[in-house]
Amino acid sequence: MFYRENGQFKTSYAADQQIFTIAQDKWFVWGLIAFAALAVPMLADEYMFRAILIPFLVLSLAALGVNLLVGYCGQITLGAGAFMAIGAYAAYNFMVRIDGMPLILAMLLGGAAAAAFGILFGIPSLRVRGLYLAVATLAAQFLCDWAFLRIGWFTNYSSSGSVSVAKLEVLGWVVDSPVEKYLFCLAFVVVFAVIAKNLTRAAIGRQWMAIRDMDVAAEVIGIRPMFAKLSAFAVSSFFVGVAGALWGFVYLGSWEPAAFSVDRSFQLLFMVIIGGMGSIMGSFFGAAFIVVLPIFLNQFLPFLGSLVGISVSTAGVSHAEFIIFGSLIIFFLIVEPHGLARLWSIAKQKLRLWPFPH
């Protein structure tokens, strides 16, 4: 009833090729963006911005990038954290070493640097796949961890090993309050989500999907595996690199190589799989789930403990967090292997007929 496409006729090619062909979808997404841009800054407090909203936005951008590679092109990567690091450190170096470097350009260049390394570490994907490829990307992860820790040039010979960016300024607009940082991230995420959506609808996205579904067959029908796979690595790493620059510049402010450790790579892969592989929306669901869950457990478990009269120690909470986090991952993979995005589309199907199922 609420989600009915009856009476919505497509009378031109342009109408047929829109991102959202159904009016409800279109208005929902516009509404969501308007809500995020206008209502949220008024409603949320500073803690919400710092602890939840900004990390959520940045990590969804990274998850989006990983999803392009893992979900759309079928190449498993465990090196996403490394590409975030490359993006962050490259952007930092562009900022520090070139006078008057615009912030956004530096971030995009950081993404470009990550893309270049993405292509380099994507080369094994031409020979191996699946788990073997995951290990090849782990090589990128450990190499980057080491390089940013030990090679002083990357951190501008900072004595403590941590680097920071003094002032974030875009065309005279100084991004310093949490609300401004949030809006800054939101702008990036919206633009990149639109780019990702369009890429996956275009020829290149179809090539990726063909490679994912059956690479030998795709090759036979004339898709160049080298181009398709390496372009997926490049685009994905670009997204992840920009997200890394945002993570360092906007969320952390000053950071060390440990901020982009192998745990981050696993976390991003979790987001993609829990959210839904091969779904733009799924990246956001996955990021929300992974960002909010630990915070929720951290707050909720001591409260639950006090209800039943047990005082839960900090160590106990962190162990319980491990257990619950792991169990939830297992649970979600068992009941919904296609991720939260599938639940979303099931919900839409139900709404189409509700309340008259026949």
Binding site: V135, A139, L143
Partner: protein, 309 residues
């Protein structure tokens, strides 16, 4: 020269530990097609259980029989590993038959989290020691060959012997016993194995148990060398290049791969490390695996990967 040999032997010993963990990976991968990222967590749980059970029973026995305490510890830890194997099959794998590799991989990461949490909740999160009575004193060998001889820990010898016995035992188990044959059949083809009457579920429990026992041995050796603590889980990430180098489906590959990586790591750290700032152990192993992958995608001993349309 003596120093070189010492470094190399040290590498061989570390490599042997990697081999043990890699063996756990290979066993489970062969029998169920699951790449078990939880192997590191299993080593942690096994070592924690062993350390704590023997500590508790030692306290209960009044501390006069270390041997008995260790036997109880090993039995207790073995029981824990059996429980883990049973639970993994019953609550996770059984519900995920026929899912994609990526999903199964993620699920083992979930299992790893649960095991890490549960293990530390039950057995504590301090640093514990395992004392199975291995002699710690070094011996000097090859005095005739090199000047000054080569210093080796006796402990390392015993550990190596233990690992060799384990690998030999596993080989006999896989080649000669009925259960071993069933495991190999399941590894070759799930459906065919099922249709000749091999119960898949039971086989999976057995193979996870065997992997658990391998984890226990690795945990005991590692724990008695360096103490039992949370950082043991990272051994899974250290052993990953080993399986890739040796081939995911090959037991000898895991052994040889482990030794190559162990020696390569140590030699590179000692002879190459000073030039580039040190700490290169971990990525060197991965880069070695990567180079092998580029030329032999299936690893040194793996079965050739054939793509069918």
């Amino acid at each position: 020269m003596g120093f070189f040999i010492e470094t190399m032997l040290g590498g061989l010993m570390t490599g042997m530990l990697y081999s043990l963990v890699a063996l756990g990976f290979v066993l489970i991968f062969k029998a169920s097609g699951v790449f078990n990222f939880a192997q590191g967590a299993m080593v942690l749980v096994a070592a924690l259980a062993m350390a704590r059970f023997s500590e508790w029973s030692n306290a209960a026995l009044g501390g006069d029989s270390l041997f008995l305490a260790n036997v109880i510890g090993i039995i207790g830890a073995g029981a824990v590993m059996f429980l883990v194997a049973w639970a993994v099959e019953r609550f996770v794998l059984r519900k995920l038959v026929n899912q994609e590799g990526a999903t199964l991989l993620m699920v083992t990461l979930g299992i790893a989290y649960v095991l890490e949490g549960l293990g530390q909740t039950f057995f504590g999160s301090e640093i514990y020691s395992i004392n199975v009575g291995m002699p710690k004193d070094p011996v000097i060998m090859f005095e005739g060959l090199v000047e000054g001889g080569v210093m080796i820990n006796k402990e390392d010898f015993i550990a190596a012997a233990l690992a060799a016995v384990l690998v030999g035992g596993l080989t006999i188990f896989f080649q000669k016993t009925a259960i071993g044959r069933a495991l190999r059949a399941v590894a070759d083809d799930h459906q065919a194995a099922q249709s000749v009457g091999i119960p898949l579920n039971k086989t999976w429990v057995i193979v996870w148990c065997v992997a658990g026992l391998v984890a226990l041995v690795a945990g005991i050796i590692w724990g008695s060398k360096m103490g039992v603590q949370f950082s043991i889980v990272t051994v899974a990430l250290r052993a990953l290049p080993v399986v890739i180098l040796g081939g995911l489906t090959s037991v000898p590959g895991a052994i040889v791969g482990g030794l190559i990586i162990g020696v390569g790591e140590k030699l590179s750290e000692v002879y190459l490390g000073p030039f580039v700032g040190g700490g290169i152990e971990i990525w060197f192993a991965y880069v070695m695996a990567l180079i092998v992958l580029l030329f032999r995608p299936q690893g040194l001993f793996g079965e050739k990967i054939i793509n069918r349309v």
